[in-house]
Symmetry: D2
Subunit: 349 residues, 4 copies
């Protein structure tokens, strides 16, 4: 470990930060040298994450964010800072020579999209051109050696993985109507009326329609991956789970396309991918089987009656939808085996 | 009460049966004289439903189903028997002069649809022409005085209520892609691997795609209500709640249609309807607010970017999606006030 | 309704306040004329409680607390203000002639107990002697006509109801070790790390050991009801439900006492009590069956092997443990039928 | 792996069997050569446990139980067969030379206790004398080299770990009243009315009072570990979690014993134990922090007011309460590092 890559985790007190620290503890080539954040600066990792108290990193003190201090002690930075904050911190880290895997939405879009979808003007648009969209199963070659990786959002990951090959092959066409369901950990540790147990149990709640900021990310990544444009509309829903995202995407079915053809296309696209599990026709996707893992379950069904393709994806939003995918990207950046430190077997039930 | 209409509840041991018994206990014009069923015959109502032990009906013994015996002691029959069973029992009851509110799917479709969607040949197709589809807010006039009411399914109720006025007015066009989310009580008391607590907590699971039997019901009822045909594809999902259905329907937005226009159309269609709550733009539907009530929350949003209308509905599947709507239908059949014995205020949180 | 008793609800924006408003809407002799509170002053009832939007009271504006203004427009005040706040407001209301049902802990103990158990010096100790402890099944005679009723806590209610008759009859002796389990609504709408869905699902957490403020309330009420002193130690636990309290009390079994004797004692003590359901030996208490009702389930089991009596109680903490019991007390104060506006049948499942 | 110990897992289709297979996949010295069971014989491991489909063992076919066939291909047998079944299978395996870790209750008591507490006459009482009670933190020396280890129950594990050192040191005395709370996975995959999601959500249910079969196990193990007899009465409760057991034990506090003294005693007893986390006074036990791990959280509090010691323990019933502890025992039997293949960090939240 003494000669591992020195890594910093920013946003260390949040849920994604906690998962980064937990998973990185099992990474043979990474040494955590800095933990930093805005909310819990001054407390230890164990103070924010009592469940991590057995980890070596648990006694580290979360530092206030000082980019010079961080860059001098870390070569690789995982930033799990909030949207709108990360882009004020990351450029200085990059300028000081660090490699950055950014888990926020701040480097996933073109500059022009930020005012409408995120509500701010991007403070460092030049870096947007340098950022590589970090969906490893589709963009592994670009990720290798990248300086700045924009780690995808939890909803776009299953949507783009499921729809891009089908779009590229002409089996489906847009527009794509995406219906998302998520557990509460997607909201992080925010303490609001909406995140209380009392408000959440027995509640199914659509939210932020039709303006969720993951919409343009899906469109851009689908185009990038498939070479074809596809308009996306997206309706997310809160359901009473902690983890788990399921996306159900409705697209126009290509002429003559069958469930078998859709399934075969996905299977071929992800042959050899350790984290993609394509379900056969008749299989049943279950987000619970992905919990705690970096796995995505995919399934595609043709409904010729209505000319509809239904493309389903499921993942653990904190792992494949955040911390796990970030580590997968770091593995690709450094040329380590892609699966290093990433679980594939759920703790079930 | 002594001179109330004599009513029988069939399928009394199930969840819908229990809700019928609970709600009917507060109905001033109905007297429960018979409870019957297949599974729990010989036990008391309280044996199947300990939470009802304070009701007068709790000491009634659930009888085996004998249509003559039932028809001789009841003028109004609520049948909550399973799909495929109800149609073997209801015709004899009708023939003996009873009025029937049937909660199964057995009288909602045309005869030709049963083999494909329900897996059986309909045993009494002549009665299908007599059956009135019991969606009170749309078909009140036909329901008044009907002998056989086909009580709608839990998923079709919010879909048809939400989409029919928009379709009729030309604000939306088909095909309609319906994404449904439901709690576990929709599966009744079935004891399967899928209905266990251990399998359900932390699980989001799409199922029965694209062949759910509520699909043709939605198509038929939409046509009936709007005068226009619309193909429907439907993807239901299990989420970890007991009650609650939310349907999110994606349709093609009519040219120039806005969220305000959609909202105004729904508000006008259901002005004066005690059980419909149309949410304004920006409001957030929450199934939890409908729990224990006969209320449907509706909302419609236009996404001109993709030419999509998003139509959302939420209800309690055991009340407005089953027992409550059945009582609402009985009220209309008999000319009683439509809201008799039907709650509108949820027990929250 | 025009000639009903004019009532105010203080703390109207909280969960207990919401339940008071919901249940009082069905009370034929009470008219809600004032809603007031600290947190949501200026908003409407529907703003704080969207699920109540169909109630007449939903358009009332929550007022800041002005005791003169309240007392001039209300004869009966339900105070669901927090511990330590209610006692600064209630005396002025009493002084102005109002009758008060106080749901806080501020009038349940002797003055000397407040610094240790509640952390404040009582601001109006003279009123403590006037306050009647409002456990209707045990103190109905004192409650009739009272000016100030101290509505019991959610945990003490089942403990005292279960243990007092057994203690009085000598079937059990102290000390009594009380193990409590509660859902999250007991914490009200507090937004803390501990009340988040993410922290609560899959979590069983004992808390505040051994200093929970309901401990001296149990001791005092048991003594008052049984004529015998009994020391109590109490360990509450949070479990992932919204509603529901179950208390399991361990006492020393009287010589020769049997399960049948314990059961018979409870059955006799509460014969004719509409809200007490004493379970027979072998029955299984279930908090879910009390949800939304004013019912308490009680059960007592003798374990002669260890000389232990196990006394179990279950209730809905927001109804029989708060708002419902408060209305039951108001009914007794005014001589109305005790069960007015109080449900006994749960919405299940 | 080729030269690992050959191991069989019996009861492979259940939850404990699934956890054994998951955890053993990470064990460097064990090779799974046989999976067998009663319920799912003929199907593959992946058929019973889809979440394990990425494991090498997932393609193994679950065999019917043939003791000769098993013993010829496995040197170490983990039996997760049901109570009353394991004791009909294990003796033949032992006779054929296998080492057995038995997860049932069939080898934990004296023969005389089985009729009363388990409802059957023990078929192989001679083996009861050979069985070592497998609570590693207390009996490591006996476990090393044992042929038959009786793996402790989920409830007795935290009770005995928490109370034995305090009893041995005279800080507490019996009788011990144990209040247990458990999630639903403790019931395994049983499909009953009680294990449905609909019955479990919003439900707190005491059960099997006072005759739960873990009662005599607690008594026997406490005596064995402390050298002192202590009568135990036990009241388990179902709460709506999948995993997690919390036990709250009420004992008589030794004269002058303080919370600090109790805490120090536990800390000293388990110094150096990798899986025991003793919480300081004021700390809050949380079962969620043990989920997926082999960790037990312990805490002890003195209440001098009532002369009560409160001893709390929490664990994951499928890991430290079943499969994890079984592997820990196997590690001790074979002289491997005790922590091999056993996680200590929870996946949280």
């Amino acid at each position: 470990m003494a000669d591992g890559v020195r890594a910093a985790v920013l946003g260390a007190s949040g849920y994604a930060g906690g998962e980064l620290l937990r998973l990185l503890a099992g990474h043979p080539s990474i040494e955590i040298t800095v933990v930093a954040g805005r909310d819990a600066a001054g407390s230890t990792v164990a103070g924010s994450h009592p469940h991590l108290s057995a980890l070596p990193s648990s006694s580290l003190v979360i530092e206030a964010i000082d980019t010079d201090a961080i860059a001098s002690r870390a070569d690789l930075v995982f930033s799990a800072l909030p949207n709108g904050v990360s882009s004020t911190v990351v450029p200085a880290l990059l300028g000081a020579g660090a490699t950055v895997i950014d888990l926020s939405g701040d480097f996933r879009l073109e500059a022009a999209a930020y005012p409408e979808w995120y509500g701010f003007d991007h403070p460092a648009p030049a870096w947007l051109d340098e950022a590589v969209y970090g969906l490893p199963e589709l963009f592994a070659e670009r990720i290798a050696g990248a300086k700045l990786v924009a780690n995808p959002g939890c909803y776009p990951t299953p949507v783009v993985l499921g729809c891009a090959p089908l779009l590229a092959s002409g089996l489906i066409d847009g527009p794509i109507r995406v219906d998302g369901k998520t557990g509460l950990s997607g909201a992080g540790r925010a303490r609001t009326d909406a995140t209380l147990f009392t408000a959440t149990e027995e509640s199914i709640r659509p939210y932020r329609i039709p303006g969720h900021q993951h919409t343009p990310e899906m469109e851009r990544a689908l185009t990038l991956a498939s070479g074809r444009a596809a308009a996306v509309v997206f309706t997310p829903h809160l359901v009473p789970t902690v983890r788990g995202v399921v996306t159900t995407s409705y697209a126009t079915l290509g002429r003559g396309a069958t469930t078998d053809a859709l399934t075969a296309c996905l299977a071929a696209a992800y042959a050899g991918c350790a984290f993609i599990r394509t379900l056969p026709p008749g299989g049943m996707v279950d987000s619970k089987r992905t919990r705690g893992t970096n796995v995505v379950e995919l399934q595609a069904v043709a409904d010729p009656r209505t000319g509809t393709a239904i493309v389903i994806g499921a993942l653990d939003n904190l792992i494949k939808g955040a911390a796990g995918q970030a580590i997968q990207n770091a593995n690709l950046v450094h040329g380590w085996p892609e699966t290093t430190a990433l679980p594939t077997i759920a703790v079930y039930p």
